[in-house]
């Protein structure tokens, strides 16, 4: 005879033992879990103390803060303390190169504009983030290059600048509108004209006229706007490094996506072209590409056509970077299971829709750490442009030690440059970790 069924009751949860939680628990588990571990912790702590103390002594406590020449520094403390005055004198050049002093505000304004363009992307309740991001990639460089270059502008140049300016105004107008009312600027314009219910073609025409009117006003303003010309020969320092790596990085991602898709294309010609391009540029060091572009490019161009040295460097970096990025993206694409393509196809999504909505977002997401590492690599690789005579941040630092007043002053400028590179690269990698965390939808659980 069966017993009557018993009722099962789960035991209540109890808190974990105290040694395993909290700061003390953490230290016990991670630093002092065994005698060997304890010894390593103590040795490591001593080593860290020794490095930090030595650097602090040199950079701060024993350092010379006021001097006219390096000789004075050496007389005062010898080599045991840093000689900062040389770096101070040259600091502006480290950041801006030989950019005319009275024009430096333009560089600052150009970078401030970038920040202003991107801020709406981090604001809540802004809906048009994709469009804003695209406008930043396409329109910002136009406006920024006029800030940086200046000079006379023909009709086309003015028209583009006016369009970029219109885009910038649109970014902020729509961001504010979306935060205040929840509707985009376009929707507000249509509502204002009582056209929300009319047919979509009418909508497009109305929005086009509004944009065109904005552009005309911008064009009038731009026509009145003049900045003196600054040759790219005067660009240098951190500014130049950021321009080259910024363009290279921004270009490499979309170009890499296109190349990676091309390499997996079912059309043999496209596949061949993309494969050859990628393999060619990946198997040659960046230095070689830079050299080739400076020495061999003129052979391919008609006589008398001069290409700016900076443009050559940028083109070389862009080609190199996109070939690398293509392989990174391809790695991401390979990680997407076939079932994803099939599910998309089975619902009637075409190739481009499936790629844009299903495959790419996932591929790029898994590759964020690799993509950002590659970006960091590109950023540091721009130091190679010094080979073709450009004065990027590193080359500028080297130039300080060749100044007659500061002859041999290398360590201090390099120390500062190291800090600058570290700050940028660390920020990039932190941002990527942050991005990963925010985009995590449970795959790693």
């Amino acid at each position: 005879m069966a017993e009557p069924a018993r009722t099962f009751r789960a035991k209540p949860d109890r808190p974990a033992p105290a040694q395993t939680v909290g700061a003390v628990g953490w230290m016990r588990r991670n630093l002092f879990s065994s005698p060997a571990n304890t010894a390593l912790t103590l040795i490591g702590a001593y080593f860290a103390y020794w490095v930090i103390a030595t650097v602090v002594d040199w950079a701060l406590l024993d350092a010379v803060w006021q001097a006219e020449t390096r000789r004075e520094c050496l007389d005062a403390v010898g080599r045991s303390g840093a000689c900062w005055p040389g770096v101070f004198v040259w600091f502006e050049n480290l950041i801006y190169g030989l950019y005319p002093k009275d024009q430096i505000w333009r560089v600052n304004a150009g970078f401030a504009l970038l920040v202003a363009w991107l801020v709406p992307l981090w604001l809540e309740r802004v809906r048009s983030k994709v469009a804003i991001g695209v406008s930043a990639v396409l329109a910002y460089p136009v406006l920024a290059s006029y800030f940086f270059l200046g000079g006379d502008k023909g009709f086309l140049w003015s028209a583009s600048i006016a369009a970029a300016l219109t885009a910038f105004v649109w970014v902020w107008a729509t961001a504010i509108a979306e935060r205040r009312t929840g509707r985009t600027l376009g929707e507000l314009v249509l509502a204002r004209a009582d056209a929300l219910d009319a047919d979509p073609r009418h909508h497009r025409r109305l929005l086009f006229y509004t944009a065109a009117a904005g552009w005309l006003v911008a064009y009038a303003l731009v026509a009145l706007w003049y900045l003196p010309y600054v040759t790219t020969n005067d660009w240098g320092g951190l500014f130049l490094t950021l321009v080259i790596s910024g363009i290279g990085i921004t270009f490499s991602l979309p170009a890499g996506v296109v190349l990676a898709l091309g390499r997996r294309s079912e059309l043999p010609v496209i596949r061949l072209i993309c494969t050859v391009f990628i393999e060619l540029f990946r198997s040659v060091p960046l230095i070689t590409i830079l050299f080739m572009f400076t020495t061999m490019l003129p052979l391919f161009l008609p006589v008398g056509v001069e290409v700016d040295q900076l443009v050559r460097a940028i083109v070389a970096v862009c080609l190199f970077a996109s070939a690398y990025m293509a392989e990174v993206v391809r790695g991401g694409l390979q990680a997407i299971p076939r079932g994803q393509y099939e599910a998309a196809a089975a619902m009637g999504l075409g190739y481009w829709q499936a790629t844009r909505l299903i495959v790419m977002p996932q591929a790029l997401k898994i590759m964020i750490p690799t993509i950002v590492s590659t970006f960091i690599g590109f950023f540091k690789d721009t130091t190679l442009v010094s080979i073709i005579g450009l004065f990027d941040l590193l080359n500028m630092a080297r130039a300080i030690g060749e100044d007659t007043d500061w002859l041999g002053l290398f360590i201090e400028p390099f120390f500062v440059v190291t800090l600058i590179y570290f700050a940028f690269c660390f920020a990039m990698s932190q941002y990527s970790l942050n991005l990963e965390r925010r985009l995590d939808t449970g795959q790693r659980s």
């Binding site: 599910a343 998309a344 619902m347 009637g348 999504l349 909505l357 977002p361 996932q362 939808t441 449970g442």
Partner: protein, 263 residues
């Protein structure tokens, strides 16, 4: 295998099949390289008909139903789906796929999109429905497959059974005329099989045209108008469930059934 109790024959859902032929396969042959995977397939499905396909692993069941929405292309013969012939240069393949829903063994939900976004994606991008409308439809179907309060979660935060029910809702959101199921319960833990089958039974009651590859024989008895047995790329035998289970004609079918109903 027998997670659902075998229902009495009178529990069989009344057939909803009309006389209209919605899928017609004539003389279909397919090869993977040199491997002949589908051999002289003849199959007619009427609107509202429910067909269960079974057979040993590797017999070509998946390939057969994947030919119907052209995830695989056949080399010989003719496949006509809702009046459109599928061939190599079929232009409106995406239009056909929009009318044929498919549910996969591995769910194949989009892990980067929420449950709701999974369901609204195709209606918005393929059918060009306004977002609000697509969401309204999606919420209605998600309710029907009993995914309550989970619509803003991501697929991988759900159990397998829930994921498969979302996958069914996602396919239904396109308002398909035909639903294809490729072993929808084979990747599930036993305790979740029933919740998915229940949803499929309801769908059958509503008169959906269904082709289901499954070894859930209880489901076949209750739902199928016809059971098809495949082996080595051929349709060996097709019959009403009564006949199929009680009186199969071929020894191969009997051997398969005795294996699958053994435990």
């Amino acid at each position: 295998m027998d997670a659902t109790e075998t229902p009495a024959p009178d529990q069989h859902i009344a057939s909803a099949a009309s006389s209209e032929r919605i899928i017609e396969m004539t003389g279909v042959n397919k090869w993977f390289g040199a491997f002949h995977v589908l051999k002289d397939i003849e199959l007619v499905v009427r609107r509202g008909e429910r067909i269960v396909v079974c057979g040993p692993s590797g017999s070509g069941k998946s390939t057969l139903i994947r030919c119907i929405n052209h995830l695989e292309s056949h080399q010989e013969g003719q496949i006509v789906v809702d009046g459109t012939e599928l061939n190599a240069d079929v232009r409106n393949i995406d239009a056909i796929r929009a009318e044929v829903g498919m549910v996969f063994q591995q769910f194949n939900l989009f892990p980067h999109l929420t449950v709701l976004e999974n369901c609204t994606l195709a209606p918005i991008w393929v059918k060009k429905l306004p977002k609000a409308e697509a969401e309204r439809i999606a919420l209605a179907y998600l309710e029907r497959v009993r995914i309550p309060e989970q619509v803003h979660k991501y697929p991988l935060q759900l159990s397998g059974g829930q994921q498969q029910r979302v996958a069914i809702a996602r396919a239904l959101c396109m308002r398909p005329k035909i639903m294809l199921f490729d072993e929808p319960t084979s990747a599930l833990d036993p305790e979740m099989i029933k919740e998915v089958l229940d949803v499929m039974v309801e769908l059958a009651k509503e008169g959906m045209t269904m082709l289901v590859v499954t070894h859930e024989m209880g489901f076949a008895r209750m739902v199928a108008d016809r059971v098809i047995f495949m082996d080595q790329g051929e349709i060996v035998e097709q019959a009403e469930p009564e006949t199929f289970f009680n009186n199969p004609r071929y020894d191969r079918t009997r051997a398969f059934l005795s294996q699958i109903l053994a435990h």
